[in-house]
């Protein structure tokens, strides 16, 4: 029988605790409570100026090589910065994708020229990235994608449509997975490209979210030229590169803290907590604490040179369902009919969270897909 997921718990060391204090002091200074609208996890606003400040502190691209502007810091240090930003509801939208996964993907598979060109901008907070994976006919089953890349003189011509592309209307680049040749195995013949969002033939159409917000997009690629030097990694190896990229984005604090600020604000606005409220507060505290232990353990594991793919999937499956349960529990407790126009920030955040929470268990790998990842390790 297989051992299944394994977590070795850890705690923060003195230098790591010092970093935590530094981040908290920075946030208190830059974003005093009440001076900004807290965001829900990585759905928070895009604020390039704020991202640049993080970059200046060395808190973006933390794991990337110093030669390219990175910090060569540990996964645990990155975990610390990330959890503090998310718990604060900081506007992380601009750099989120670039920092979490595009930078790592370029560092892992990119050419020397690509690393020099893109990584410094990611580390400084200058460049924003999007992810061009999903398509109208290819969601969880990504092998069904149909966007094509056709070899031409000096480069490639891309044709097709990407959907659910967060931030495509404001980002600079998109790492796009395309079919570059027809193979009998659907997972073969794929290639990743670095696509300039200002390319001729590339059109971004908003796909308004059900709450009316427009961070979600369709990206139409109509004969978009991508020069050879912007092929990311090896031609035909896109599937395995993409799989590695997905592993980068699972299991972090963003998978259980998306609705945290709603509870914090509820606590801030509630004078007297009755017994039921105290119990709920305690239960949620315990859940966040426990999920954090697992997520932190995974980060430490990465620093020890292992790749906790299954563990990350397990945490994400558990954490994203919990993010939704938080809202349900609050609604059992608090007798309000929340209005998006309420004078109460708690109510406004609750509305926003209720309307967006279904996506938590879908984005970046649905819970169903994650379960199959975990279950395979147990078969």
């Amino acid at each position: 029988m297989k051992a299944g997921p394994r977590f070795v718990t850890t705690d923060l060391r003195p230098l790591e605790l010092a970093l935590q204090s530094e981040v908290r002091a920075f946030l208190a200074e830059e974003l005093p409570r009440g001076s900004y609208r807290p965001g829900l996890g990585f759905m928070a606003e895009a604020d390039k100026a704020f991202s640049r400040k993080l970059g200046a502190r060395g808190w973006l691209g933390m794991a990337l090589p110093k030669a390219y502007g990175g910090g060569e810091r540990s996964a645990v240090e990155r975990f610390i910065v990330t959890e503090e930003l998310l718990a604060w509801g900081a506007p992380v939208g601009h750099h989120w994708v670039a920092d979490r996964q595009s930078g790592s993907t370029i560092a892992a598979f990119g050419s020397e020229a690509q690393k020099q060109r893109f990584l410094p901008g990611i580390c400084s907070g200058e460049l924003g990235f999007s992810i061009g994976m999903s398509e109208p006919g290819a969601g969880s089953d990504l092998a069904g994608l149909r966007t094509t890349a056709r070899k031409v003189e000096g480069g490639w011509r891309l044709d097709g449509t990407k959907v659910w592309t967060t931030g495509a209307h404001r980002t600079d680049w998109m790492i796009t997975l395309c079919r570059s040749s027809e193979e009998s195995d659907r997972r073969q013949g794929m290639t990743q490209f670095l696509v300039d969002m200002s390319s001729s033939g590339l059109k971004v159409n908003p796909i308004p979210f059900l709450d009316g917000t427009a961070d979600f997009n369709e990206v139409v690629l109509d004969d978009v030229f991508v020069p050879d030097e912007l092929v990311l990694g090896e031609v035909g190896r896109g599937w395995s590169q993409n799989t590695a990229e997905l592993a980068f984005e699972r299991g972090g604090p963003d998978r259980y803290l998306s609705t945290y600020v709603v509870v914090e604000q509820w606590l801030r606005e509630t004078a007297d907590l009755d017994d039921e409220a105290l119990r709920l507060l305690g239960r949620l505290t315990a859940c966040w604490w426990g999920l954090r232990q697992l997520s932190l353990a995974s980060a430490r594991t990465i620093d020890e040179g292992r790749s906790p793919v299954v563990e990350a999937a397990l945490v994400k499956e558990l954490g994203t369902r919990f993010e939704q349960d938080v809202l349900e529990a609050l609604q059992h407790l608090v007798d309000v009919e929340p209005s998006p126009q309420s004078t109460s920030l708690f109510e406004r955040l609750l509305c926003e969270a209720i309307l967006t929470a279904p996506s938590n268990t879908i984005r970046g790998g649905t819970v169903e897909v994650l379960r199959s990842v975990v279950a395979k390790a147990l078969l």
Partner: protein, 347 residues
Amino acid sequence: MTTDLLVATAEELFAELCSHQAVQDAERTGWAPAAWSAIAEMGLPWIGVPESAGGQGGTLSEALAVLRVAGRHGLPLPLAETGLLGSWLLASAGLDVPAGPVTVVPVDHGLLYDGRTLTGTATRVPWARSAERVVVLLPADGRFAVASFPTADLRVEPLTNMAGEPRDTVHFAVPVDVVAPTSIDAEQLRLRGALTRVALIAGALERVRDTTVQYTAEREQFGKPLNRFQAIQEHLVHVAQQAALVGAASDVAGRETERGGGAVETACAKSLAAEAVHVSTRAGHQAHGAMGMTQEYSLHQATRRLWSWRREWGDGAFWDRYLGRLVAARGADALYPLIAGGTAALG
């Protein structure tokens, strides 16, 4: 002995002592004398108790690691009560640790100590009938003190929990010859008791996970093993998640307690353990179908213990309230620092 070696030794011994039949027999008779002799001979009940006090030495984490193995096997003995709770109390008060099994009266016992005699009735005292001594933490002079009594001097009514483990009612009407002051208070004892249940639950959750993984690999329906069905895989994920979550929580709570804190961590861990019992037993039983409901199949030896242990030393609701008060007293700004920092963030 390293912790890994200690755990491996305990694993081997407990597996041998806790055959399906042996556990069933112990539930029926209320005691497993041969098993007790075997673990006592190796000193396992007194790990974490200082050698100077008559214990085995070793750390709290090591004792909890062994207790987790006991939980995995449903070891039908007062392992937690003898060492981590009873000997801990006795040693803290400078009292001798006896050679035989010891039990402890849970907190909020309502016993009355008038300075000379102890009277009243304590319920749910684990294995009182087989213990050599019953240890009680008493309020005395605004502080706390430890007293212990030969079981022969007490009247013991045999009762059990849902897992057939002795949880006796003990009637006290005894002179108190020795009351030894201790620095341990009722809250610390409660936390320590909860910590022992977290470790036991962590072990039993591993048992549910392993049993479910194995059964669903072997059992075939509709022409293929159960574990090939997505609906069943969801159950596997849930039992694996809960075992991982409580296992981690148990480790961290033990580590922090060993460092002198651990209140927040233990409370979080016990809260999570209670919910984990619910999720894991539901998924585990569902995946087993009717087979899991039979006495001859061993799943129930883990699940009945889980249902019992979650209630002992405070169920989830108790610890949720405890945590909720800690958070509420400090306010919204302190919430995340508490989640990230635990007891150390209480200041």
